[in-house]
Amino acid sequence: MKKKRDLILSVILLIVLFGLSWLLNSEMDSYVRRIANLCMIYAIIGLSMNVTNGFAGQFSLGQAGFMAIGAYVVGIFTVPVAARATVFYAVPMNPAIAGIQLPVWAALLGGGLLAALVAFLIGAPILRLKGDYLAIATLGFSEIIRIVITNASSITNGALGIKDIPTLNDARYIFLATAIAFVFIAALINSSYGRAFKAIREDEIAAEAMGINLYKHKCLAFMISAFFAGVGGGLYAMLLGTVDPKNFLFTLTYNFLLIIVLGGMGSITGSMFGAIIVTAGLEYLRIFDEPLELFGMNIPLFRPGLRMVIFSVLLMVCVLFWRHGIMGTKELTWDRIAQFCKNPLAVFKRKGAAK
């Protein structure tokens, strides 16, 4: 009974949110739309990173690299063939791919699949590493991808980047992509494979003794994560309309690390909240970057860069007092909401208990 109720409520919620995205698209200006879309794209990539880092417990920092793969596949194959000569004005495009133009959905999917394939290939050597070593290896790998992209001029247009990518600043489509990523990952985590990932996170030796093939499951988590990061990267490229190797510096990965730490490592709904807070928060803190006059005096602190200081302080406070992020490993379920509606105070009381 409960399962049925939850399903119905979830479907209703999805429809309502889809309606909202429709409204957003028709009523709001392009700046607000862009922020909302960026939130959703970051949510997809945050979710993807949570699969490896939060659920399978493998500390991977390669997300920017996988995004770059997805973004470039979209960039290379969706620029109209007629416009390619002007985009690739320095080094002409490799004739083998110069005439291929894919529809947007195929390019997105292809980008995700290529990212997953790359994850599979590099997974064999690096997934033997653990903890910090894995983090360093994946970080290095994402830099390698960026450098390969910078130098493969005839395919990627090198440091010039690719312009004239058909833009998609349309909340409806991006919402659909986010919803699919969310439902897929939620269903995966609730399946027996999701449980196996969690077992690996909790205790590798015990997981192995329970018959879970560590390498196979780690590799699977890594590939799924790369797939969604690739799709997210493709959407990102289409939101910006251009791709450039500098977009995918390793600092980009930290945005998503921030999202999942803030939202809660190992919480799907947490990643969604994290993405919204980090993306929207960074935008709306821009008021601190503008000069401020109080009582006729110019406050010297208010200058470009202050928002990053404030944001960092907020983060430190959050990490100090809310170590497991907003959600921890918990999920925002309908049960929890129902409980909250019945007795709002009980939620806070239970926190003290050892549950």
């Binding site: 269903a187 205790d203 015990a206 018959g211 879970i212």
Partner: protein, 262 residues
């Protein structure tokens, strides 16, 4: 009686230290075998070799599978050995601490699910069917061990004795033929030890299990084992029935030391 597990002169060397030297063990179907010995004798190392955590420096480990064929499991992956039907528990309990009691047991059922990850994620009918079988199994096991009421609790919040039981039942959920218990009664008081003894007997009888255990509680060992192997400094110093072991001079010597005056 058929041999289920045959440990054929295995040696484990860590640099200059020989942790286990030329160990031979034969375990027949349905037996309860105990491995005893002073601390540091190499008992857990022997377990780790059988379950694939370590690859022996020398020797072979043979396992007879369900079809009656002898399989050389030396140096296989722990997960493969578990899939073949050898399950284990750990000396220092290794539960999935942050997960619930239910999830802990459910994870052990994962190896019986044939569905690939896509059909599992999409919850396709054949996955749901497998999942339901697993759920019923877990419910039955948890009820049997008296942990059904606590299924929603975090594993780490259970009292010590129940954590031990949960670990055993989690191993049982992999449907093993041979169950390896590493000091199941460690840190238990006499009452809890009695309960555990009865519990091991029950599952042994009910599931036609072969049990191989390391234990320091002599009451438990003497009461339920069919045969005992005694290890000291990596060597087998004695083997036999509980009565034989109790009267063996070398065993007494290993445990109590030699009387210099005698």
């Amino acid at each position: 009686m058929t041999t289920v597990l045959k440990v054929d002169s295995i040696t484990m060397q860590f640099g200059g230290v020989i942790a286990v030297n030329n160990l031979n063990i034969d375990i027949h179907e349905g037996e309860i075998i105990a491995l005893i010995g002073p601390n540091g004798a190499g008992k857990t190392t022997a377990f780790n070799m059988i379950t694939g955590v370590y690859k022996p420096t020398k020797g072979r480990i043979l396992y007879t599978n369900d079809a009656g064929e002898e399989v050389d499991i030396t140096g296989m992956k722990p997960s493969t050995i578990a899939q073949l039907g050898v399950a284990r528990t750990f000396q220092n309990i290794r539960l999935f601490k942050e997960l619930t009691v239910y999830e802990n047991v459910m994870i052990a059922e994962h190896l019986h699910l044939k569905s690939d990850f896509l059909s599992a994620t999409l919850h396709l009918p054949w996955y749901n069917k497998e999942q339901q079988v697993a759920e019923e199994e877990v419910e039955r096991l948890l009820k049997e061990v008296g942990l059904w009421e606590e299924r929603g609790e975090k594993a780490s919040s259970l009292p010590y004795g129940k954590q031990r039981r949960l670990e055993i039942i989690r191993a049982m959920a992999t449907h093993p033929k041979v169950l390896l218990l590493d000091e199941p009664a460690a840190g238990m008081n006499p009452n809890e030890t009695d309960d555990l003894t009865a519990f091991i007997k029950t599952i042994h009888d009910k599931y036609h299990l072969t049990v191989f255990m390391i234990e320091h509680h002599m009451d438990l060992v003497m009461e339920i084992s069919d045969r005992i192997y005694v290890l000291d400094f990596g060597q087998t110093i004695a083997k036999g029935t509980p009565q034989e072991i109790q009267n063996d001079d070398r065993v007494i010597e290993a445990y109590l030391g030699v009387d210099e005056d005698a």
